[in-house]
Symmetry: C4
Subunit: 198 residues, 4 copies
């Protein structure tokens, strides 16, 4: 079975999710001065954060699938499951932004991010299992340390929101930075592979 | 004529349909506590159900087209007809969720699902006819038993909604499960084919 | 320059346009009986008509590009111009449906369809010019009789709407039928070409 | 790493952005005469302008990537950064249209366009650096004079909006025309390259 169409479909859904979020940034009706934009900052800030998160997911999905060479039914559904939780991000983002980062909204955001991390990990585990533990994919994915740290951060961020929203917010930014810092892992392994084979 | 673009267009439309549905999950305005999310459960539940349904359609469409190698004008229109009924799913889902699974809304949902099943069956019959009864596609599709059972369930679910919504709801979940259980049919036939030819 | 990405981008825009139209079919809030759906029939009917129209455009675009093998800057912009007028269809459709096919709304619908026909004809002329008059594309496109009849219908439909909306409505349905009836032209020419070369 | 999926994802996001903008063109509710469309002209005009701008970005992105043959992580993020600012265009367009080109809304429009130009320039610089200064890409991009003139126009347009909105408006139209006038640069270089190698 071909991986091309699963990539195309995921790209489509992720592209829509990332763009739908911007619809939450509602035009201030009957207000046309620069200061009227100020009240939008929490919505804008939460949009920026979620844009980066969705971008990270697309990026990782893209990287992972460059070393995938076969898929099966279970993988299709694991991917669909990931898309489901990604599709919850605009809702969580909008609720958080609109309520100026109120505790419950940040806890929900953490929960949605946690579910996304779990869904991604299910998908990557199924892919590794399908390709074998000595496959290029398996070596490229490594131990998934970053993923585990992220999950720990989300688990901490959920209850923390009710104590101090700044802790949760800090953890969300931390996870984003963790993934934004370039990860040469997959790129290096592919590079080595090419050198070996040539 | 190339099948690539019909796949790409279908992927695009299905990706948008699946993502548009989430817009029905409206943010509870000026409410920022966890208990405010509780009132959203019927909308959320109907979203989950429809997400799975649309996922099943994408999955089956994807599987079927892996063994398609030619299309014609009638097939393009049969595909468009399927996309039309798929595009009705967000409306039916939203109406059902918003009205807490009221009888008429569940009957409409059943009707939309029924029309989708019919549209899918027209598409697959045209494809089989175009490829010949001894084609890989024809053997892969088999007798379409699952499709027939689904149609029977939808036909039962429509009037049942006015007697007891739980019957219809149960039937919708049943059909979803029927398709979620892995169907090795197409995968096996392709596998055998590859073994034969090698 | 490659035609693949212009196809992909057009597919994306057309897929979104066709799906955005369904958003006009608004859920009847706080109404959950079958009879509450009755008031939606003009919106539904105009959605069906526009779905078919956009489907025809996608279909023709798809057919035409199967015989295109090169594009240039002017063609990219002619394609963008077509996408612009296609993007006006949801607005014209929504206005017409919401106002139960009022004269002015049908005149606007006719105008938007007229502009789409003009935009499509500019695109196909540029493509023919770029490929040469003895190219496969040029022969496949023929004299464009259908296109000319369509334009004549739209020009008639615009003023007719203010006399009797049924005339305009009839003309819109006529044009749709004209294009829905299978057009073997391009398919036949490709078929012949393949026979010649083999 | 393959450039195909970055192109596909960008196409998806840009297709959605260009189509989402049309949603700002809201149907005049309970008004069904031609004169009711007149009040929409500022929204329509700003839609046309932004459609052309987004079209230019897609066009340039498309042209640039035809000569790209490798990407890395930093390029993926630079592309994501460009998509972020492109996603701000519907908001800026809607605000400007709804407020009949009020000074602050035009200044914001200029700012968003300025950020897009910066994001595009970061992306193209990273691509040139990745391909080397003697690469086909590098020669095709040239000195980027048009880009510099555009940035200068945007910088001028932002404060000018508070003096006279016609200055800013004129500058926006000027930049659009600057890019609409066919740019044979990349096409010529590819043409020459093909002649050299053959």
């Amino acid at each position: 079975m071909n991986k091309g169409r699963i990539e195309a479909f995921s790209d489509g859904v992720i592209a829509i999710i990332i763009t739908i979020m911007v619809l939450e940034l509602k035009i201030p009706h009957e207000k046309s001065e620069l200061k009227d934009l100020l009240s939008l900052w929490p919505v804008f800030l939460s949009y920026v954060l979620s844009f980066i998160y969705v971008g990270i997911y697309w990026n990782n999905h893209h990287h992972m699938f460059t070393v995938v060479n076969k898929v099966n039914g279970a993988i299709l559904w694991a991917n669909m499951h990931l898309l489901f939780w990604l599709s919850m991000i605009p809702f969580a983002t909008g609720w958080m932004g609109e309520n100026h980062f109120a505790p419950a909204t940040m806890a929900l955001y953490g929960f949605v991010m946690f579910m996304n991390a779990i869904a991604y990990s299910i998908l990557s585990n199924l892919l590794i299992k399908h390709h074998g533990s000595d496959s290029l994919l398996s070596r490229a994915m490594g131990k998934g340390l970053k993923g585990k740290v992220s999950v720990a951060c989300y688990i901490t961020a959920i209850p923390s929101a009710f104590i101090n929203v700044w802790i949760s917010g800090g953890l969300f930014v931390l996870v984003a930075l963790l993934w934004l810092i370039p990860d040469k892992r997959i790129e290096n392994i592919i590079l080595k592979e090419n050198q070996h084979s040539s």
